[in-house]
Amino acid sequence: MCELRIQAHVAEHGFGGFWHPGLGQEGVQAGAVAALGRDDYLLYAHRGLGYAVAKGMSLTEVFGDLLARSTGSTGGKGAGIAHFCDPSVGVLGEGGTLGSGFVVGAGVGMSIRLRRSDQVCAIFFGDGAASRGTWHEAALEASVRKLPLVWICENNGWALSRPFNAQSPTENVADRAAAYGVPGVIVDGQDAIAVFDATQLAVQRARAGEGPTLIEAKTVRVRGHYEGDQQHYRDDRADAEDLDRDPVEILRRRIDAGRASELDAKVSAEVNAAFEEALAAPRAEAEEIIFMDVYA
């Protein structure tokens, strides 16, 4: 619903940056984050905001970030590609350069180890970002030290305009796990419960000191790379837009229809209220905000 509300806003009013919709990938994001505790950390990927919302960030803050309002967690400085941050619920942020979360996340694992904490850190990334060299450096360092990490690849089949099979010599990202001596698990990313189960096992493994797990969730990119992308390069759009593969629909079928309607109404009201609140909030004053937070 968050996704659809943003989509409607972008269609009507445009947007001060590039919104990279996560429609179709909510099942991975919500399912995986549900398996994390409040004290656990996550570094999210750039497509969607399911991670932050599922981890407990305020909707008004997240929407405030998207709309560059003073109520956003970054006050507008991380807006556009949608950076938000709330360390109090373990949402550490995201890099504008894809794949930068690998090494940062491995460092979070080092810190967890040093502090003798039982936290874990989940690192989300797309199949495109999985090509970065930072993946190799982080995966080597984290695996050899058995750091408490869970790598969650949202493989939606597209790195912007490049299909996954043109980027990877193997069929799956998970196949690469063998190189690092960690389990590589493939799950249906459209099934939030399956993602939850796989993540829960990986989290248990990480907490037990057994090291990282690579989970590859096969998912779909329903929309373009950014909202407004005409996607001329793409030949699988009918499949992508097939509602039978919508993770929200799939989850809905598992619960009582009456309960589902109740939830829809409740969530819709919450989302709309938060969006309106964010929209009504003032933009951050440029003079005030530009020079803030460069240095502590």
């Binding site: 967690s73 970054t74 941050c85 930068s100 460092g107 979070v108 502090r115 982080a138």
Partner: protein, 336 residues
């Protein structure tokens, strides 16, 4: 902050490298959140021997050897700092800042800003800088101006053993990311270093290393020693130069430099980095903005050649300002 808690003349004499080691050990004893990571810093004690002995005292959880994974060394420090520790990481050569460019210039410099000030990044990146007698073009650069041009980083360049210790301690306690350029040719240089654990040198405070009347010479890193030697020779020839070491380039103590120029009316800036768009260009611009009418002559810059550093030690030396070159430039500038 005790900048000097005992007279320098009574302080024990230590090398620059050991002074860095002492700062690391003192800070690690003081605060268990402080830890080290880098290539060969544990078992070997660092390729320049700077971290020798620290593995024995602090163990492998806090003195961490890595693979050849610079993006992890710096990027990992970012993650570790955001989640409650204080990493001091070593890049084997300052040049490797470029290997970890995304991590240094994006994650380290910008993540606090991008994330609304909600995370702190107390990270020190130790970066052995400059020439060392034949290390070649990709192991000899002086990249401080690059770091000055990316807001979010603090940039420190100690030139004496005492400053090496005092500045590193301040850098470790600073809540911001600090790129600490330690000069490879200075590791063995000795000088008095206060043993008092409270001894610190604040970032953003220049040091007047030699007082003089006729010409202000602003020098950084290895060039400070050379400017001081030039000062001795010029003194014999009747020219009195004032040598100022900014010690940190971000923040830059331009006030001390301007005060000196207002007294001498002449300024020469000396650094090892290529002259074009080096730190000297910024310092010269600031001097003329703040003290134009005090100047009796143009501000001159003496810098490294606008070339890569060749591998041969003699060719290498020909690329950076010598004591002779500083003496000649000073004498010529006095005639302008």
């Amino acid at each position: 902050m005790h900048e000097q808690s005992q007279p320098m003349s009574d302080a024990p004499v230590l090398s620059y490298g050991r002074a860095i080691n002492q700062a690391l050990a003192e800070e690690m004893r003081r605060d268990e959140r402080v830890w080290l990571m880098g290539q060969d810093i544990g078992r070997l004690g660092g390729v320049f021997g700077v971290t020798r002995g620290l593995l024995d005292e602090f163990g492998e959880q806090r003195v961490v050897d890595t693979g050849i994974t610079e993006t992890f060394i710096v990027g990992g420090a970012v993650g570790a700092a955001m989640s409650g520790t204080i990493p001091v990481v070593e890049l084997q050569f300052a040049d490797f800042i470029l290997i970890a460019g995304d991590e240094v210039f994006h994650k380290l410099a910008k993540w606090r800003y991008m994330h609304g000030g909600r995370v702190e990044l107390p990270v020190v990146v130790r970066a052995p800088t400059g020439i060392v007698g034949g290390a070649g073009a990709e192991h000899s650069q002086s990249l401080e101006a690059l770091c000055m041009n990316v807001p979010g980083l603090k940039v420190v360049m100690p030139a004496s053993p005492a400053d090496a210790k005092g500045l590193l301690k301040s850098a470790i306690r600073d809540p911001n990311p600090v790129i600490y350029f330690e000069h490879k040719m200075l590791y063995r240089v000795k000088g008095p270093v206060p043993a008092d654990e409270r001894f610190m040198v604040p970032l953003g405070k220049a040091s007047v290393r030699l007082a003089g009347e006729d010409l202000t010479v602003v020098a950084t890193g290895l060039m400070v020693e050379r400017a001081l030697e030039a000062g001795r020779r010029l003194g014999e020839a009747g020219v009195s130069i004032e040598v100022i070491d900014p010690r940190s380039l971000v923040p830059l103590d331009i006030e001390t430099i301007v005060r000196s120029v207002e007294k001498t009316s002449r300024a020469l800036i000396v650094h090892e980095a290529p002259r074009t768009a080096g730190a000297g260009a910024e310092i010269a611009a600031l001097i003329q903005e703040k003290a134009f009418f005090a100047l009796d002559a143009p501000i001159w810059r003496l810098g490294g050649t606008d070339t890569p550093i060749p591998q041969d030690a003699e060719l290498e030396e020909a690329c950076i300002p010598s004591v002779d070159a500083i003496v000649e430039a000073a004498q010529e500038l006095m005639r302008v």
